[in-house]
């Protein structure tokens, strides 16, 4: 079949999965299987469509649509194909995982869960392939709505409902801005079709306006700081396989929007666009991970880390856009390559980590890392898979996170050597901040893995956990293998992504790999070879083994003793480091980013009252940006909403007056 037919069938099968899952809602078990298995089939078909696009080139489908809004156009080029492939892989893994995981929701709406989940995936597939602004917005809204129902799925929890409200509020601020951007384009071109936007020679001021509107609009959905505050609340509230999709792919559709509009349709004509994207990228990366560090809710930690990763992706996008504007093809290719590579990587490992977190929550029924611990012995496979994810996201060589960050460093290097004052000045600073982010990510995921899976179990539930069923392990395992492949297979993946990156930047392709090495540009002396790293690390294992053998260490043997040393006192699990205090020195060292707020202060009485310095208090770190930037934006919108609401007073005579006034204004406008 032709790729576009495959894509449409994939969407249809997702639709069928949704409807059937809803029909079988009376029998949760059937609904789970129908939704999961059909979802897997649909994903496989979607993946096939993407492969055909990569092999045979872009395809388009044009159908007559609603006359006023132009034709219904679907267009899958390499970039869209990459998005489709990414969605398909994640959808496949999560569908497989959901067959067992959704057991949690048996008789609590597993059927409805399958319905919304499959609709959500179908909407995402259409978002990344629509090439008409009107239909794009329709699919965009369907995606938002479907995901909203996933976020508030656990309606009995008050915080889920609140998170959902926050999400839909900010998502709609974003959508309003995107609509405005498209509307401006429509006013200037007279159509809603992407192809005419691309060809329209817009005046620079209009282009700037459209870009800023779209960047902020899509940025709200991507979760850039300071519009991120819904993300760490909404993503964890959804069922875990849906969280994996929300954090793994949905926020990437927003990056897709930024790139499609800013780079493809508007052509990134001036370099300050790129700098704006780069700046927001850095800000999101640093603050996202800084706030992730202090979380003790495992899923919220992962969600904050998504803010950080979106930041890293946007840094690459920004550099690529600067390269395009400054007509530096090498910079454009390396920048976009780093962005695309990290986008795929993040989809894989964040999907994996969310599903791993889901597996743990499935067994312990808590999100709090303080009540976990020691799960590696009870859930060995989950633990191993989660460790692969944690190492990938911490950019441990030779896994995939390292490769994309390496390309980002290289793009900053290329940018700093180019004849661009701004990048020359800020390139090294960006490198420094990226290194800081890298160190904080490692800290964050040592904490996440360490306090969840190792050390002593800190609650009864953690002591009784058992390994999760095979389908969940398989779902996670696929992504773990993906992370390993994207790391070790860098010499295969890089030229492929490099081609797409060059296509985006509209520049000739670069040679980015030779044999088992990759490099940022032809002739560069900076090379990286992940397969060699693995081979050498394995070969070097002979050094410690030889040392041990030579010094007779193998004969010594080992025994296991019950408790760690505790200064001679009896050991208790509370003595180990917990999730709440692990990052505490970090909070003190980087105090400007946080504000240690005193929650409670009780003056002492009795003899202690004589000493004015003695106080009991309970400090808690509070993200500063959220308090001073995000909250005000939110409360302004809510305030405006309430003001506008007062127009709806329910009095029919007032409504008649509105109609009358509107008519009068229209008539005056027409006959003036």
């Amino acid at each position: 079949m032709a790729p576009i037919q495959l894509l449409l069938s994939s969407v249809l099968v997702f639709g069928a999965a949704a409807v059937l899952s809803l029909m079988f809602r009376k029998s949760s078990r059937t609904a789970r299987y129908v939704s999961g298995i059909l979802g897997m089939i649909a994903s496989a078909v979607g993946g096939l469509a993407a492969i055909e696009v990569f092999v045979f080139g872009p395809v388009a489908l044009e159908l007559a649509g609603i006359p006023a809004f132009g034709n219904f156009v679907l267009l899958v080029d390499d970039f869209s194909g990459l998005m489709v492939a990414m969605i398909a892989v994640l959808a496949f893994a999560t569908s497989l995982y959901s067959i067992s995981y959704a057991e949690e929701y048996d008789n609590r709406g597993a059927g409805q869960l399958g319905f919304f989940n499959n609709l959500f995936i179908a909407a995402m597939l259409l978002v990344v392939s629509a090439a008409n602004a009107f239909y794009f917005l329709i699919f965009w809204e369907s995606m938002t709505l479907a995901s909203y129902f996933l976020v508030i799925f656990e309606q009995e929890k008050k915080e889920s409902v609140r998170a959902g409200y926050l999400y839909i509020l900010i998502a709609h601020i974003g959508t309003a801005l995107i609509m405005l951007a498209f509307f401006v384009l429509y006013k200037n071109t007279g159509t809603f079709e992407f192809s005419s936007f691309r060809e329209a020679g817009l005046p620079p001021a209009t282009k700037n306006l459209v870009f800023l509107l779209a960047f902020l609009g899509f940025g709200a959905k991507a979760g850039i700081v300071p519009l991120h505050i819904w993300l760490p609340r909404a993503h964890p509230a959804a069922p875990s396989h849906a969280s994996a999709l929300l954090s793994g792919v949905m926020i990437k559709t927003a990056v897709y929007g930024i790139v499609r509009l800013g780079v493809d349709l508007l052509g990134a004509p001036v370099s300050w666009w790129g700098f704006v994207v780069l700046l927001f990228g850095i800000l999101s990366a640093v603050l996202g991970i800084a706030y992730a560090l202090d979380e003790r809710d495992l899923k919220r930690l992962l969600a904050y880390s998504s803010v950080e990763n979106i930041g890293i992706i946007l840094m690459g996008v920004g550099i690529g856009m600067v390269g395009m504007a400054a007509r530096l093809p090498v910079l454009a290719v390396v920048g976009f390559l780093a962005a695309l590579y990290h986008m795929i990587n993040h989809a894989v490992f964040k999907g994996l980590l969310f599903m791993g977190a889901g597996a743990v929550i499935h067994r312990t029924h808590t999100h709090n890392m303080n009540e976990m611990g020691g799960l590696a012995r009870l859930m060995p496979w989950t633990s191993l898979i989660f460790l692969v994810g944690a190492m990938s996201i911490s950019a441990i060589p030779p896994l995939n996170g390292f490769v994309s960050e390496w390309f980002l460093y290289q793009s900053l290097f290329v940018g700093s050597t180019a004849d661009l004052e701004v990048l020359r000045v800020f390139g090294p600073l960006a490198v420094m901040l990226l290194a800081l982010v890298g160190a904080m990510v490692a800290m964050c995921f040592v904490k996440a893995y360490g306090t969840t899976f190792t050390g002593p179990p800190r609650s009864q539930k953690a002591r009784q956990a058992t390994e999760v069923p095979g389908s969940m392990l398989a779902g996670m395992g696929i992504l773990a293998l993906g992370a390993i492949f994207l790391g070790l297979g860098a010499p295969i993946v890089t030229p492929f992504l490099g081609r797409i990156a060059a296509g985006l930047g509209g520049v000739p392709e670069e040679i980015l790999a030779k044999g088992i090495q990759v490099f940022p540009m032809a002739g560069s002396q900076a090379v990286l070879s992940t397969p060699l790293i693995l081979v050498l690390l394995a070969a070097l294992l002979s050094v410690p083994l030889l040392i041990v053998w030579f010094l007779g260490g193998f004969a010594a043997g080992h025994r296991t003793e019950s408790d760690p040393w505790a200064c001679g006192y009896g050991y208790s699990p509370q003595m180990g480091v917990s999730a709440s205090n692990f990052a505490q020195p970090m909070l003190l060292a980087y105090q400007p980013l946080y504000r240690l707020r005193t929650l409670m202060q009780i003056p002492l009485d009795g003899i202690a009252a004589f000493s004015q310095n003695v106080n009991t208090r309970l400090p808690q770190a509070e993200p500063l940006v959220e308090r001073w930037v995000s909250r005000p934006i939110l409360s302004t919108v809510q305030y405006l909403g309430r003001r506008i609401q007062s127009l709806h007073m329910g009095d029919v005579r007032m409504y008649c007056l509105y109609i009358f006034v509107a008519l009068a204004v229209l008539l005056i406008a027409i006959f003036r």
Binding site: A376, S383, L387, A395, I396, P397, F402, W406, L412, F413, T417, V425, P428, V431, A435, L436, G438, A439, M440, A442, M443, V446, G450, T454, G455, P456, Q525, A526, V527, S529, L532, I533, L536, L537, L540, L541, V543, P544, L545, I547, V548, G552, G553, A556, G557, H558, R559, T560, E561, S562, D563, P564, A566, M575, G576, V577, Q584, P585, L588, A589
Partner: protein, 312 residues
């Protein structure tokens, strides 16, 4: 130089670092003792300790997982790979075909990742404390390390360590203010790595890196300590390779190799001597004050970067 001889030199470098790392650490202990007016251990004491520990039975904590047993091996392996990439005896990166300075910095990160994870795994209070302190140090020093290396890479024109080393050695990158300031700033990092004072009590190193090793014993402890010594020497040799590469071979020959080896040992010894003097001249401060010290270093690093911008 041919690829074959470079590979040979890379392997030699790895062996060199593995063999002499405990010696330098022992040297530092002796110097410290002399400055405290103590008799101190013999200079080979570290080897005696390692040999003895290696033959002792290993006691594993019940909480420990496979990571606890793997971490010592991974520490050594990663430090060895870094030693093969850093130009120690030559002014080229022997294993430059594997990776560049970014890989070296991230290999150091790999070591930190597993050392701190093993600390958490043990379930011990001290292990956990050591783990989080280790990671805080990385968050304080790594940005600085990469900033300085990046500025040096910009001066030399590549992130390949061999190119940087060669640039300084041949005078293509002259010693001007940027390089001097970068050197001072990077020296702080090497100092924190090698000495760990002023946040540490000498001869009672449980507070920092070794905090994470609290639950190790026997073979595991021996390997972990050996790995830590190797890592220290790796950071020192990274400093020497980037800022003081003189004496390293530019063409391959046996006399040049012997000379390069001797010069490297002397340079490293001189550096350990300076570290020993500095750490004993400084008051010991609480760990939580560490940021104030590293922020001075960061200031110097930023100054180096500012000088690079105005091309001084």
């Amino acid at each position: 130089m041919t690829t074959g001889s470079l590979i040979l030199i890379g392997i030699l470098q790895a062996l060199l670092v593995a063999l002499v790392a405990p010696l330098f650490s022992g040297f530092a202990r002796v110097l410290r003792a002399k400055m405290h007016s103590r008799h101190g251990p013999p200079i080979l004491q570290n080897y005696y300790d390692l040999f003895k520990l290696m033959r002792r039975q290993e006691i594993l904590p019940a909480q420990g997982t496979a990571i606890f047993r793997l971490a010592p091996f991974l520490t050594i392996v990663a430090a060895q790979l870094a030693a093969m990439i850093i130009p120690i005896l030559v002014t080229q990166s022997p294993f430059g075909l594997v990776g560049d300075m970014i890989l070296v910095v991230y290999l150091l990160m790999l070591i930190r990742f597993f050392i701190s994870l093993s600390g958490l795994t043990s379930g011990s209070t001290f292990g956990g404390m050591g783990a989080r302190r280790e990671l805080l140090m990385s968050a304080l020093t790594e940005p600085l390390m990469l900033l300085v290396l990046f500025v040096m890479a910009l001066l030399a024109g590549s992130t390949n360590l061999g190119v940087i080393s060669n640039g300084i050695a041949t005078g293509r990158v002259p010693y001007y203010a940027t390089v001097w300031l970068g050197m001072i700033s990077f020296a702080f990092v090497a100092f924190v790595e090698a000495g760990r004072l002023p946040f540490d009590v000498s001869e009672a190193e449980q507070e920092l890196q070794e905090g994470a090793m609290t639950e190790y014993s026997g073979r595991g402890l021996a390997l972990m300590k050996w790995g830590a010594y190797m890592k220290q020497l790796t950071v020192v040799s990274l400093f020497l390779a980037v800022f003081i590469p003189f004496g390293s071979m530019s063409t391959l020959s046996i006399p040049a190799a012997v000379l390069a080896l001797a010069v490297f040992l002397l340079k490293a010894a001189a550096l350990y001597l300076i570290v020993a003097i500095l750490e004993n001249a400084m008051a010991r401060v609480r760990f939580i004050k560490a940021p104030s010290v590293t922020w001075i270093a960061l200031g110097v690093g930023l100054l180096s970067y500012a000088f690079y911008l105005v091309r001084i």
